[in-house]
């Protein structure tokens, strides 16, 4: 099942720093929620085991995450993984604007998770993406 999402996050002036960290694998991996373990593969990619708990799907998903583009105005990340009878592939683009970060994502899900329907999946995905950005924002405040 193909899904598309989009959103806008107002970072109240932290945009530049957050955006710079978003393209940094070290910070990105620390900011993704529910990561159980991770291994850096090269400058732009790493493997992570992510605990996914959403209704019937409650398992550890081995996920390959690649930063495909990281410029001062745009970051593109691809993630794909499978586990617990479900597979997920996600391509997410972040665009830096003066006052906010706009993001859009295309996902393809199959197996058990697809039976939950787009309404539930959209809400869940949106919340997790926003949690990731907020977590990077927190890290940016410390750096």
């Amino acid at each position: 099942m193909k899904l598309t999402y989009s959103g806008v996050i107002d970072l109240l002036g932290d945009n530049d720093r957050v955006f710079a960290l978003l393209g940094n694998p070290e910070f990105l991996i620390k900011s993704i929620p529910d990561v159980e373990s991770s291994k850096r593969l090269d400058d732009r990619s790493f493997e992570a085991v992510i605990k996914l708990k959403l209704s019937i799907v409650s398992s550890s998903i081995r996920t390959l995450i690649q930063i495909r583009e990281a410029t001062k105005d745009s970051v593109v990340i691809h993630a794909s993984g499978s586990g617990g009878g479900s597979s997920i592939a996600l391509l997410i683009s972040f665009q830096r604007n003066p006052k906010e970060i706009r993001w859009s994502a295309d996902a393809e899900v199959s197996g058990l998770i697809s039976g939950l329907g787009s309404s539930i999946l959209n809400t869940f995905a949106k919340r997790k993406i926003e949690e990731t950005i907020r977590s990077i924002q927190k890290a940016a405040a410390i750096v």
Binding site: S55, I56, G115, L116, G117, S119, I120
Partner: protein, 407 residues
């Protein structure tokens, strides 16, 4: 706005026109519904009351949608309120039940029957979400026939004292105040309505009813009252006119339930479209199988038939609200709201069943989004007027009062 809802709002806008403020209410409802969805699903899976409903509805100023602005509500007319309930129905009947009881059966009844002092005391708090309302009519031995209720009240030293049980009361264990009905001890033919404070001595939540086959996110309780004191100021309407209060409240509530069921069908249609296009069997999407298309055609037809009946009932209610003394308008409103509720509740149950069928093995699973609707809509054929009472009511409005079978 959610896609189906946005289309619906446009159609209604073309038909009756919606003001900027009415559009704002619907945008707020859409935002609240989006925020509620994940919680509603999670609480459903955990089989517990969704306490986020009042919190999120209050956040978007949606606890008093039909209440006049002078009492701090949004002042929405029935068609706007029906649209709002439809959008909440897309999230689930648990949300609809909470909102219907709090707003239609609770605050709207106080707005309609209360004196000015009661309206000032309760409506702003209810509209802002600082109190939750319930409606306690049904008893273990009095369901479709409320006139056989056993709860009693006595009057002493300028106060009333209520004793009895109330059963299957939505919002029953979470309400701060509830409209309670009881029969006079001195004149047993007189049933009166009261606004009761649930913190009063003698009021007790006997049991939270958790073993329901659906509607897990809605609070349902068995209540007992032992000489619960109510002041004279909390008599709602005239003494002895309680059944008129109850029946008018149910008339309002039925449009809300019908609208919620339309929302359920919206969501079922969306879910089956998505599922049937993405699910491949026998080498092609099941959407290409004609027997699946038959289900989808039936779902879409039942949805549209119910939708416009609910809107028709809401528009009829708007007319009646402008001339509440007009008996003919009242009868027609009663008839239309019964037809709308009867049709939409049965259609939504059938639609959810067909949606489960399209989902196949995944549908026979509590996790499936359409199965939730299947379990939740069954009660809509029972509460706020069973199928059978709706049938009798509809038939008697056609045949005439002398043919009322339940008299």
């Amino acid at each position: 706005m959610e896609q189906i809802f946005s289309q619906t709002v446009k159609e209604v806008q073309n038909l009756v026109g919606l003001s900027r403020e009415e559009m704002k209410i619907l945008e707020d409802v859409d935002s609240a519904a989006s925020e509620l969805l994940e919680y509603e699903y999670q609480y459903y899976l955990e089989h517990r009351y969704n306490e986020k409903i009042p919190e999120i509805l209050s956040k978007y100023d949606l606890m008093g949608i039909p209440i006049l602005t002078k009492y701090q509500g949004r002042g929405a007319r029935p068609i706007v309120h029906a649209l709002a309930m439809e959008r909440l129905g897309q999230v689930g009947m648990g949300v609809v039940t909470f909102a219907d009881v709090h707003q239609f059966l609770g605050s709207l009844t106080i707005q309609q029957w209360g004196n000015e002092e009661q309206k000032q005391r309760y409506l702003p708090k209810a509209a802002k979400g600082s109190i939750i309302l319930a409606f306690a009519l049904t008893e273990p031995e009095a369901g479709s026939d409320p006139s056989s209720m056993l709860s009693t009240y006595s009057a002493k030293d300028g106060r009333y004292y209520i004793t009895g049980s109330k059963y299957l009361i939505s919002n029953g264990s979470v309400a701060d105040n509830m409209i309670v009905f009881a029969r006079g001890i001195e004149n047993s033919k007189e049933i009166s309505a009261f606004i009761l404070d649930t913190k009063s001595t003698g009021f007790k939540v006997e049991m939270k009813l958790l073993d329901k086959p659906g509607l897990f996110t809605s609070d349902t309780a068995l209540l007992s009252m032992e000489e619960v004191e109510v002041s004279k100021e909390d008599l709602l309407g005239k003494e002895g006119k309680g059944l008129s209060v109850a029946y008018s409240a149910l008339l309002n509530g039925r449009i809300g339930i019908g609208a919620g069921c339309v929302g359920v069908m919206d969501d079922c249609l969306k879910q089956v479209k998505e599922r049937s296009i993405n699910r491949v069997q026998h080498g092609k999407a099941i959407a290409k199988h004609q027997l699946i298309q038959k289900h989808i055609a039936k779902i879409a037809s039942e949805l549209e038939a119910s939708r416009w009946l609910v809107y028709r009932a809401a528009l009829q209610k708007e007319k009646y609200d402008k001339s509440p003394e007009d008996i003919d308008l009242r009868l027609e409103t009663d008839r239309m709201s019964a037809i709308a509720k009867y049709t939409a509740s049965n259609a939504s149950f059938d639609v959810a069943d067909r949606a489960m069928q399209i989902f196949g093995g995944f549908g026979y699973n509590l996790f499936s989004p359409v199965t939730r609707h299947f379990l939740d809509t069954r009660v809509a054929r029972i509460y706020e007027g069973t199928d059978e009472i709706m049938e009798l009511k509809i038939a008697s409005t056609i045949l005439g009062k002398e043919y009322e079978a339940y008299r």
